[in-house]
Symmetry: C2
Subunit: 192 residues, 2 copies
């Protein structure tokens, strides 16, 4: 079991056939996940393809996360929360400046992912819309208005993915106030 400390990120390899379990140890904590083809980082996780092929915004057990080349990257094989977001980019200095009006913003998941992915040759522009694990975004069907609500995850809740190709993964313990019920907690993960 590996811990991602509050407001930070880790990058790691996940081989085809391996399982990745992401755990919310304290409850109500989001983890942003991005994925790249290990041998060609220009192939990356695509919310647009995945939502299209699943015909739904909220992906859960039985759904696939596809790449921009329409190849399956991750298969959600277990999920005891069932509510994650796949429409928003990682929070960033700009998010905090534009949405929260912060003058001296934190690096956010974007900045934390940039730091851990840089050794793998990934530039900031290559960080896509993340699969925002445990992030609870409601949508009003008629206006399209979205609201970021506290995660539905309780202490010990988890989601498990099976890798469908060799992958590079970036994973955070998210640092956006609204997304985490205004308390920054760790995220744990294990690979087996």
């Amino acid at each position: 079991m590996t811990r991602i400390e509050p407001c930070s990120a880790k990058a790691f390899e996940l081989k085809k056939g391996q399982f990745l379990t992401v755990i919310d140890p304290e409850g109500q904590q989001v983890g942003d996940l991005v994925a790249y083809n290990r041998i060609d980082i220009r192939e990356y996780i695509s919310s647009g393809r995945s939502i299209d092929y699943a015909s739904k915004l909220f992906l859960t057990k039985g759904d696939l996360l596809y790449s921009n080349r329409s190849n399956p990257m991750l298969d959600i094989v277990n999920d005891n929360v069932g509510r994650h977001d796949f429409t928003l980019t990682p929070c960033s200095k700009d998010t905090f400046r534009i949405i929260y009006g912060d003058d001296n913003p934190l690096p956010g998941c974007q900045g934390n992912l940039e730091k851990v992915l840089e050794p793998f040759g990934i530039i900031p522009d290559q960080i896509p819309i993340a699969f925002n694990i445990f992030m609870n975004v409601s949508v009003d069907a008629s206006s399209g208005k979205i609201a970021v609500l506290p995660p539905m995850s309780r202490a010990g809740d988890k989601i498990t993915f099976e890798a469908k190709m060799d992958l590079l993964i970036g994973l955070t313990a998210c640092s956006a106030g609204q997304s985490n019920n205004f308390k920054f907690k760790p995220i744990d993960f294990e690979i087996y």
Copy 2:
């Protein structure tokens, strides 16, 4: 006025301060729009940033389309339809294979954009989630299930954008059956 023939695409420059009007000449026709910073194509239109900053899925008059670097790219200054999609990637051979089960699929908006953007140095992996003009995607608020419905646009309906930086634009007349009420029509545009 320039016409994009059914099931095709065009690429063109749009200078900061210029206006782009996209017209549906016959009604119920989608046009996928992608945008890049003219002098650095690694900066591209970002649905994830735009939805986050607007706090809504359905953008219309008064809303900004942001780049992945959180810079405003396009300002929607007029819109007499008010319903467009910003969650899905352009339709592609893979879309038609996976969703429609086609054995010999059309290139789709993805293939048509690849062709017209290639002379500008853009590779297929750099085609992001598009702003899918006139595309009518409904969302079920509780399950997140989406449905692609006929566009709400009637003949002559239009949307106008103001460029907030020098841009390269890719625009299609979409070739996905469901998105266009199963009839492939042209899309018109003008720049002024």
